[in-house]
Amino acid sequence: MKFSYIAQSILIGTGLALMGMSPALAQNREESQGMVLLRGLPTLDTSHSIAIVELDPESDRFGEILSEVEQPDMEHPLHHLYYSPNGRLYSTGLDPSCSLAEIGLSRDSSGAPVISGITCLDTQGQMVGEDIMWATSNGQEYMFVTFMGGVGGDDGGTVGVFDPQTNEIVKVIEARKSQVGEGEPYIMYPHGISAFEDRMVVTSTVHPDLTTGVGNMLTIIDLNTLEPIENIVVEKEKPLNFPSSPVEVLFVRPTMHPEIEPAILANTMFGFETWKVPYDADSKSFGEAEVIYSGVANETAVPLEFYGSEDELFISHALPGVVKRYELAALPELVSSGPDIVADPGAHHMIFFTSASGRDLIAIQNNLLNLGNSADEDPTDVDFIADLNAHTISVHDLETGERIATIDFKERYNKGVDNVEGLFGSGFVHHH
């Protein structure tokens, strides 16, 4: 989902307005600053926090935390940051006590951004927030949030529909497999979310305890009725002998590029594949799902996120830790637009920005699942694949992919880094 024009004006526009400043002010460029969710590592006696970090390697303050606020006292950290179209900052959370939060931002008398607080929102019992998107139902805009744990149970999972102004819950979309009739569409462990016109898609990933159950399908939701209407299985190879666990999803659509034919793209975390499901907008029907990228054949695993620029789509693969790039205009087919960007194990979220000298950069956050590392005897480690926790942000030249610099958060701050978002929003197609 691209930011609306107003969001671009508020977030990116203000950032872009900072260009062309004097050298003295170049150190204060906010375009190159990132919001990060930092995870306290139990063995290193640190706590969860949210911070603003300088990511421009040309800055004297590269890697420096410019502002930091501790997260509420809870076991599991906040998970994933999203800016609303009006510029409000939200985060999903893994802890049942704070599965969705709004984060306050303001400025001090020097003009510097300040994280002014974290407000946990009432989710009416929905737990383990994952992704957020803002979409319209019957002409009314809502904030949709996937809760992978739902309100609990072995086959839980809900999509929360919130009033985007008041943050109050409007509806909980729930359809348990154990409660709907045989062959009826259900929602289970929803994570990725995307939408086009009046169709929304969520994935079925994995039970939050990572052991009770794993999903293998997509759920289509009718945005007119806010009810699930169809399941689509996306499972073929099972390299781990698990269900495929579709994770992030992107409904590619003509508004991203006029040459794009609408279709769903979905990455399967345990199947290592990228799937395509064609969509006929006239008949509102989906075609046959097919694998368009095989991790087994290409020696990559755990594909995760979709991000887009004006002309490219980027997909992160946590193992071996690369970001692959594709021609945006060729979607929904994956036509390579250049060599892989080699990051670190756990390659996950990313942001795009320019350096003080105008160099186009990509910063990649390398860590999966907010988990610790078994090598540290970290009790939060779930080493089901191994070594997905580099806890770094690597900064690369966007054109060549060359790595320019790396921040090792574990080494420098004794913390893991779970998410990165631009201070003014990524300004790019993000997940949805």
């Binding site: 609306s4 024009y5 107003i6 004006s9 508020i10 977030l11 526009g13 203000t14 950032g15 307005a17 900072l18 260009m19 062309g20 400043m21 002010l25 204060n28 906010e30 009006n86 510029g87 409000r88 931002l105 303001s106 400025r107 001090d108 008398s109 020097s110 003009g111 510097a112 951004p113 002014s116 985007p164 102004q165 008041t166 943050n167």
Partner: protein, 373 residues
């Protein structure tokens, strides 16, 4: 008993004298602005390192802003043409001169000057707020004051000597400019209905929301997108302009080439800047009539009519305006947005959401010589 009284009196005199000497000798006080907080979404701002925001400079600047002592005839203050209730404009098409005539320009609204701009006045002739602050004071038609005379008058005032000493150390023209700039930088407006909407505190009406969408959209008939095209020039509408020095100046189609005033060209010497004037903030726009640099439009409806059907083409007309048309095939022989009356009213309704009553009545920004503030 008498000796005791004399001793106490002597001690008191010594104490007072000591305090007076200490007060006069001590360095300026730099008390940070209490509880300062500004909206994140307005973007970053920067304050000159040699003129930080302090309580002392703000208090001094506020007094100077409202004091007619700053004019040559001691009858005109900054506030004469910048009235708080009118968002620091004066409600006139062109402000009056000291001799009873009219100035060339309309009085500009003052709000959120912390953000953005590096060029001030309609034609961008000042490169900083500090530079701007002294120009009207010295202008023979505006305040007609000689700076040396002004400094002598301020120096003669014990109250001002004390305020200057606390803020900057001494009375000077430079420090007068700094104090006025600080007061203007602190004129922060962030409590309009639209601000509250952005924070999630209120909802817009259906008409206001329609206007918001039109305001943000550049019309594109290929995809049936109707738009008011406002954001193309007014992207910094919540604050007061662009950071880049010459961004935020535009020719918005008011006059033909033969009648086009120099505008920014008078400053840059660049003919491509002929007829360029500052794109003003739209904050509190509903209370700042009349509109445009010369106040030629009395109402927002007049303004909308201009953009809808009254654009005058000239060599330097903004291409963003020239190409914005919701009905390009109508062949009406005019240039404009060609929106419906309902659409124009919706945009006007949205513009009214930018009015910040708390700002217009904030006692901290009011005349310190009157009332109880």
């Amino acid at each position: 008993m008498r000796r005791v009284l004399l001793s106490l009196t002597a001690a008191a005199i010594v104490a007072v004298a000591g305090w007076v000497l200490w007060e006069r000798a001590r360095a300026p006080v730099a008390t940070p602005i209490a509880d300062f907080s500004a909206p994140f979404v307005f973007g970053r701002f920067s304050v000159p390192p040699d003129n930080p925001l302090t309580e002392e400079s703000f208090i001094l600047g506020r007094h100077l802003f409202y004091d007619p002592m700053l004019s040559g005839n001691n009858e005109v203050s900054c506030a004469t043409c910048h009235v708080q209730a009118l968002a620091f404009t004066d409600g006139r098409a062109k402000s009056p001169t000291l001799s009873g005539g009219e100035l060339d320009f309309s009085s500009m609204s003052l709000a959120n000057l912390l953000w953005g701009q590096e060029r001030f006045f309609w034609d961008g002739r000042a490169a900083s707020l500090e530079e701007q602050a002294l120009l009207p004071i010295q202008h023979p038609d505006e305040m007609g004051q000689n700076l040396d005379n002004l400094i002598a008058e301020l120096q003669a005032s014990g109250i001002y000597r004390k305020m200057f000493r606390r803020a900057y150390g001494s009375v000077s023209a430079e420090n007068t400019a700094k104090a006025l700039a600080t007061f203007m930088r602190m004129l922060i407006s962030s409590e309009s209905k639209y601000d509250k909407y952005l924070r999630g505190e209120v909802r817009l009406t259906a008409q206001e929301e329609h206007g918001r969408k039109l305001f943000m959209a550049h019309p594109d008939t290929k995809v049936s997108l109707r738009g008011g095209n406002c954001i193309d020039c007014h992207s910094q509408f919540l604050t007061s302009g662009f950071r880049d020095a010459l961004d935020g100046f535009s020719n918005n189609g008011l006059d033909p080439d033969e009648a086009l005033p120099p505008g920014l060209m008078a400053v840059t010497g660049n003919p491509a800047h002929k007829g360029f004037f500052k794109v003003p903030t739209l904050r509190n726009i509903a209370v700042t009539a009349p509109y445009m640099h010369d106040g030629r439009f009395e109402t927002l409806e007049d303004v909308m009519d201009h953009y809808n059907d009254g654009i005058v083409v000239s060599d330097t007309l903004s291409p963003l305006i020239l190409e914005a048309d919701n009905a390009p095939d109508n062949g009406q022989g005019t240039v404009g947005l060609r929106m419906t009356p309902e659409e124009m009213q919706a945009i006007i309704a949205f513009l009214h959401t930018l009015t910040d009553e708390a700002f217009l009545t904030n006692p901290n920004f009011s005349d310190p010589f009157h009332g109880d503030t």
